[in-house]
């Protein structure tokens, strides 16, 4: 993926059918120093994504033509770019379906401009901050995490993770003895300072497990601690 050089303005693809909201979003984002490109329909979203190569996608769930959930899946199939959903319904299903389709985070309408900017900055900081990391290798179960190359490996085989999933795994790996509550993870990984929707954690832990676990039904990497939250699995060499 061709990263824009540091210091250049981050480019955000806004996919929303509401003209007024899209324009307002772009005004606010530009004011905050982002470049924006707007796409009004779901059908053209993927093409626009190819053309623009954005650093982040703001995606409305309700779109004419191709539905936001499908667009989200299309993009996630070929890219790890952060996706933030804009949802009008905070009802359980839509949000969970969107997150399961690969969205990293969501803001429900009506949201404050500052709230949106905070979410966008958190996701961008995460996906561009790899190089700031001090080189480090962490071990959970039988997989190793290399912070420098943003690489996760089981033996010799690379495991492809989105930046968010990488952050989630790393947060657990850094403090292998600690049990993380969902609220703590929300703060560490998503940057929420007040308790927010813990479904974010649940869905992304599931997605992460489907990639890193040998058997997602019996997780050994991201272990559930009943009633509290999650913790990292024991490193493989500590077991034997």
């Amino acid at each position: 993926m061709s990263e824009p050089g540091r210091g250049s303005r981050n480019r955000i693809l806004v996919v929303d059918d509401d003209v007024a909201l899209a324009e307002m979003l772009q005004i606010v984002l530009r004011q905050e120093g982002f470049d924006t490109v707007w796409c009004a329909t779901g059908d053209r979203a993927l093409a626009a994504f190819h053309d623009v190569r954005p650093d982040l996608v703001l995606l409305d769930l309700m779109l004419p033509g191709r539905d936001g959930i499908d667009v989200c899946r299309d993009i996630r199939d070929e890219s790890d770019v952060p996706i933030i959903m804009l949802t009008a319904k905070s009802d359980t299903m839509d949000v969970v379906v969107g997150l399961e389709a690969g969205a990293d985070d969501y803001v429900s309408k009506p949201f404050k401009a500052k709230e949106l900017i905070a979410r966008v900055r958190t996701r961008l900081r995460r996906s561009t901050s790899d190089t700031d990391e001090a080189a480090g290798v962490y071990q959970i179960g039988d997989i190793s995490i290399n912070t420098q190359g943003h690489k996760v490996q089981r033996g010799d085989s690379l495991i492809q993770l989105t930046p968010l999933e990488f952050d989630l795994l790393l947060a657990l790996a850094r403090k292998p003895r600690q049990v993380f509550s969902r609220e703590v993870l929300l703060e560490e990984v998503w940057g929420y300072r007040h308790a927010a929707d813990t479904r974010l954690v649940n869905v992304h832990v599931q997605r992460l497990r489907s990639k890193v676990e040998r058997d997602p039904e019996h997780p050994e990497i991201v272990v559930t601690v009943r009633g509290i939250g999650y913790r990292a699995g024991e490193p493989a060499d500590a077991l034997r």
Binding site: L21, L25, K89, S108, K112, K114
Partner: protein, 519 residues
């Protein structure tokens, strides 16, 4: 003792069977009695008639023979004896007893005592034939007595010029035997008929009751929501038409419920659509307002104030929209609990901490005390929202006096009270406070921007938990709201760990009434 009474009261077949049984027993007893008595009357009357006839024939013959034999008194005895033996041995149908001048002459084996005294008196007194029932006795003690008839008359001996009483004895053993057979037959037939009738009654009621039972079962299943339940329609009888009517009713109910469901679904869809359609422009307006509000320092005074007002009112509008959508979700029955084992005290403290900045701005102090085990199965988000609404309400009406929040628990429930010392309300208004958009004092302005739906939503949230939200208030003595939640979801609350009336209120008045629980 009680079981049959209960069966009589509850089971139609039982009632029909018992009634039929009793009825047929009565009919059979009466009928049998009538039959047997008529039969015996008939048989005995016929016997009597034939006895009299035979007796008179025999008497005539004896009289004739006696006339022809013109003998003296000695030979009369022989003649009589001869006659007695002759006639007595003749048919075996009757025996004879002749009361001679000196001694009696009887057919072989017959005891003369068979003739009742009353009859012999009547016969000896005057001519004619007399008839009486008797018990036939035999000289041989081995032969049992048997019932019989005695026909008595006088036999005139012309040679001697004297009359001798003659008695014809007709044993009725056969007739009595026949009657016994008839009686037994009547009894057996009666018993069999009674059983058959009872069984038939049972069978018929079953035939009638079974479909009715099926109908009531089907109706019950319909009532419990199985709207696809239908009855089998067999044949063309009244019962089949009952089944048809039931089925028609079920279809009609199903159609109407379907219609209502469709209406409700359309309504819900509409609310959902409205929510979506409203939220998008609201977001745009909000972002635009935020942008203008952030730059208000660069505007002139009136434009800056306008931006501020727009910003503030938009927040209020947003709160109102959010609350309306929440209420509509409750109304649609779409609200779902997300339960977790949580310490109520922690939830309360978290919300109080979140409200503290706001309370400080309003100049109100928030005091929290907790005691006992306050862990319970609750939806933390909803309980926080209840607390938010209660605290906001208390701050709004609390006249800047401290607000005391108390958390407590007992074995079956946890509770929290929010006590303010503000304007309060009338005791009679303790349910109205939960009404949507209700205001204690319509002239009072909303100072802190509550939507008027907060307490209504809090009540819905509490009831969704199977809990209580109750209010206590007195004008100028403040108010107390109490939330009680069951420790385990699904348990029925019977009491609360905290009284509804504030503990700090020491009044001598009759304030005991306020303890009434409001579910």
């Amino acid at each position: 003792m009680r079981a049959p009474v209960r069966a009589w009261l509850t089971s139609l077949p039982f009632r029909v069977i018992v009634s039929t049984f009793i009825g047929s027993v009565v009919i059979m007893v009466l009928g049998g009695f009538l039959l047997v008595s008529q039969a015996s009357n008939g048989i005995l009357a016929a016997k009597r008639q034939s006895s009299v006839q035979e007796a008179s024939t025999a008497l005539d013959r004896m009289q004739q023979q006696l006339r022809q034999s013109n003998s003296d008194s000695t030979s009369i005895y022989e003649r009589l004896n001869q006659l007695a033996n002759e006639v007595g041995a003749q048919a075996g149908q009757y025996r004879i007893v002749i009361q001679g001048p000196v001694s009696g002459y009887s057919s072989v084996g017959i005891d003369a005592a068979t003739v009742p005294v009353a009859l012999s008196v009547s016969v000896e007194r005057g001519g004619g034939m007399y008839l009486a029932p008797t018990t036939v006795r035999f000289t041989d003690p081995g032969v049992p007595d048997e019932p019989g008839l005695v026909v008595g008359s006088l036999l005139y001996a012309p040679s001697v010029g004297e009359s001798y009483p003659v008695y014809f004895i007709f044993p009725e053993g056969k007739e009595v035997q026949t009657l016994a057979v008839v009686q037994q037959a009547a009894a057996t037939t009666g018993a069999l008929l009674t059983i058959a009738l009872t069984a038939m009654a049972g069978f018929v009621t079953r035939q009638v009751v079974q479909p009715v039972r099926r109908a009531s079962l089907a109706a019950e299943r319909l009532a419990s929501g199985h709207l696809n339940e239908r009855m089998d329609v067999r044949g063309t009888t009244e019962l089949a038409s009952l089944a048809t009517s039931m089925n028609n009713m079920a279809s009609e109910i199903q159609r109407q419920i379907g219609q209502l469901e469709e209406l409700s679904r359309v309504q819900q869809q509409f609310v959902s659509d409205v929510s979506h359609e409203l939220r998008t422009p609201l977001t745009t307006v909000k972002m635009a307002t935020d942008l203008l509000y952030d730059q208000r320092d660069e505007f002139d005074v009136s434009a800056a104030r306008s931006a501020e007002l727009m910003h503030a009112e938009l927040e209020r509008f947003e709160g109102l929209l959010g609350d309306l959508l929440e209420i509509s979700r409750f109304d649609a029955g779409a609200a779902v609990l997300t339960l977790d084992e949580t310490d109520l005290a922690n939830v309360v403290r978290a919300e109080v901490d979140a409200q503290r900045a706001f309370a400080d701005r309003q100049g109100t102090r928030l005091i929290v005390t907790a005691r006992g085990n306050t862990g319970a199965e609750i939806d933390a988000r909803r309980v926080r929202r209840i607390m938010r609404n209660l605290i906001t309400n208390a701050i709004e009406h609390g006249e800047r006096r401290p607000i005391v929040i108390t958390v407590a628990g007992n074995d079956q429930a946890v509770a929290v009270t929010v006590r303010d010392h503000g304007v309060g309300f009338l005791p009679s208004q303790n349910t109205q406070v939960f009404h949507r958009f209700w205001r204690a004092d319509p002239s009072r302005t909303r100072t802190v921007g509550g939507t008027g739906l907060g307490l209504a939503i809090a009540l819905e949230d509490a009831q969704l938990h199977g809990g209580w939200l109750s209010a206590w208030g007195r004008p100028h003595q403040g108010a107390q709201f109490r939330l009680t939640l069951p420790r385990q979801h699904g348990e029925i609350l019977t009491g609360s760990p905290l009284p509804l009336a504030p503990l700090d209120l020491v009044t001598g008045g009759p304030s005991g009434t306020v303890r009434g629980e409001k579910p």
